[in-house]
């Protein structure tokens, strides 16, 4: 038995995505900028994918720019908007629980003279609204808040936050890192008040190396890559046509029977949480009293196991063909302690004892049951040999 429960890190590529990628690579390999028929054929994939993504967001296809993935989308959003609006002010607000692809570009902007505020979150990983309102001022040009947290699955009330921000300063640009949320939630930027939205292909069974940024009409942006002027100069470089075509297919697929899929995920999450609670000395991070769990993301569960180092548990599970992450996979290739876990105030000794289980539409009840029974078996053994 194998259980891949690391879908927050990446997901398995769909057959249909693979097929379209192969078709583009082998048959429709033209450069979409070429004037001949090969170029036109390739461009069709881009138009098609753009339409699908725009439809999923109830947006205009003109508002979609393709990038090399979530990290580039976030970089483009923050640096591009900061450069475009620097005359209006130099203040940017974000939260303490963002992904490094938000925090690090902001550190870069800080070096060039911007002032960055980091909002605290409560123990469930929800942004402190009062702090947000306190921070917004005349100088504020940009607020960046993630929809779903990648480490503990906490969800922000994005529409409400957008309303509060615009109520206090209507000029502020609101960026949402939607990389873990897109495909799990229906996100309608215009209705919700989002100006910029980052999405990624490989978190929704699409290919790696492709993502997109939604840029609301009339929002000014400076490019961060310069060259041949592709994508209306917003993102130079020959388009990644196989990736774009694959992303389009993945988006179409993920939003089919969407409600049903999400209901199934919450069902699995509930069973997993019930099961894991039977193990002694554990804490499930970011879970509220809501028994339906609907105020957290359907696919991410963060569990701290007292007295066990996450790396050891991870490799033990791996020996049983169960694949998980320690903290956040993006940040945890190097064993550094997680920013989110610190921000929600979990005990210091548990920081290095936390595992993230993350599901996808492929996850089965059997995988969950197998994982639970394996955990119940190995945890007592590992606790016998702890460092003291």
């Amino acid at each position: 038995m194998e259980a891949y429960l690391d879908n927050g890190a990446t997901t398995k590529t769909l057959e249909s995505v693979k097929d379209v990628i192969v078709k583009v690579l082998c048959e429709d390999y033209g450069n979409p900028s070429s004037m001949h028929q090969k170029g036109v054929d390739a461009e069709k994939y881009i138009i098609e994918a753009k339409n699908i993504i725009a439809d999923s967001l109830k947006a205009d296809p003109k508002e979609i720019v393709f990038t090399s993935g979530g990290t580039e989308s976030n970089n483009m959003a923050l640096i591009g908007a900061a450069m475009a609006y620097k005359r209006s002010g130099n203040h940017i607000i974000t939260t303490r629980i963002e992904h490094p692809s938000i925090h690090n570009p902001l550190s870069f902007l800080e070096e060039t003279g911007f002032r960055i505020s980091y909002l605290p979150v409560d123990k469930y990983g929800k942004v402190e609204i009062d702090a947000l309102l306190n921070e917004i001022c005349e100088e504020t040009i940009l607020v960046s808040i993630m929809y779903v947290n990648n480490e503990i699955g906490s969800v922000q009330d994005i529409a409400q936050i957008a309303k509060l921000i615009k109520g206090k300063n209507p000029k502020v640009i609101f960026h949402v890192d939607g990389i873990q949320a897109y495909g799990k939630y229906r996100i309608f930027p215009k209705k919700m008040g989002i100006d910029l939205l980052s999405i990624s292909g490989h978190k929704i069974h699409g290919p790696k190396g492709i993502g997109a940024l939604y840029i609301r009409d009339k929002v000014k942006m400076k490019p961060i890559l310069f060259g041949g002027g592709q994508q209306k100069g917003m993102r130079s470089g020959t388009e990644n046509v196989p990736g774009i075509a694959g992303l389009g297919v993945a988006v179409k697929e993920i939003y089919m029977d969407h409600e049903l899929k999400i209901k199934k995920l919450y069902g699995l999450k509930k069973i997993f949480i019930q099961g894991v609670k039977e193990i002694e000395d554990i804490i499930i991070n970011g879970i509220t009293d809501n028994e339906e769990l609907t105020d957290t993301a359907p696919h991410i569960i963060s569990v701290s196991f007292g007295g066990i180092r996450s790396e050891v548990l991870l490799h033990t599970l791996e020996e049983n063909n169960i694949y998980v992450s320690a903290g956040s996979a993006c940040a945890s290739n190097h064993p550094q302690l997680s920013g989110t876990l610190k921000a929600i105030g979990i005990k210091k000794e548990l920081l290095d004892s936390t595992i993230r289980f993350s599901f996808s539409i492929n996850t089965t009840l059997e995988e969950i049951e197998y994982t639970l029974s394996t955990l119940k078996e190995v945890i007592p053994v590992l606790r016998r040999y702890s460092r003291h």
């Binding site: 050891v312 490799h315 460092r387």
Partner: protein, 392 residues
Amino acid sequence: MYKAFLIKYAEIGIKGKNRFIFENALKDQVKFALRWVEGTFHVSKEQGRIFVEAMTDYDFDETVEALQRVFGVTGICPVVVIEDNNWEALSKAVGDYVDAEYPSKNFTFKVAAKRGDKRYPKTSPEICMDMGEYLLDRFHELKVDVHNPEVMLHVEIRNKAYVFSKVIPGPGGMPIGTNGKAMLLLSGGIDSPVAGYMIAKRGVRIDATYFHAPPYTSERAKQKVVDLARLVSKYAGPINLHIVNFTDIQLYIYEKCPHEELTIIMRRYMMKIAEHIALENNCLGLITGESIGQVASQTLQSLAATNEVCTLPVYRPVIGFDKQDIVNLAEKINTYETSIQPYEDCCTIFVAKHPVTKPSLKVIKYSEKALEEKIEELVKVALNTVETIHVD
């Protein structure tokens, strides 16, 4: 400009009747080092030196870099080969060489000539004098100093003429393979690759043993050790890396012995196992990266306690080094960056807060009695499941 290299070596010259063994080994190592370099080379041994001649176009920097990694080489002289050795052509070519190689002519020099081809119309002293005169005429700033020249200009005449004056330093040491083989205990830290390098430099072929403790140490920690072995092999030649699964032994010691003594007892078993693999692979000694007092398990008492389990000599080339000295050497041989990747190794996973620093052998041996029931079986299993990776 340069078509050949003259390889200088020092210690080999005093090896008496065994000298040819060392020279042949050096020749082989030079060939081995050049195998991936762009170009085709002819390597020959003649008159007490190794001569490398490029038969095709080649990459100069890459070649020098490769030669600088060959132990036994003390100096690499880039040589200009002059095909036409009639005096007019020769002197002009030597003058051109001096002109190109030394933009400022304000230095003292001396010509050292050697005449391999005895039919050549000038004798060696005549070549020296006439060449000196020609150069003084052509470059007025030059001065001759026969006792202490800044530049020693070698001119050798055989069927072609060879000119050289520059010496690029080599690593020194002895050619690999001239001093047997030893087993390096390679941990993934900073010290052990340096220790391996130092012993290899004395002509010793290296095998390595690594103790892997899944799931406590990760696959990536193992990969890091393979990477380190590969970096050391750039100097030391091919390495057989033996990977021992140490988890069960470690857990058993953890269960049965006092926690403060865990590291020492564990290291004693590591030495035992390494020695066993060493003997199986014809190694004549063990090599560790231990340095006195660096950690609790490297005090004199601890070293004595771990040393006691084996009969093979244990070589500890960095024993008297400060950490910074070891780091400097690691940077020089390019292992430092890899060594500091943050993967846990099996020595630290169960380390006690206050491990013993002055273990008494008597106490340790008494503690080890608790292991009698199963330890031999576990060691046997570990030895039977060794995975060997060939790295080069």
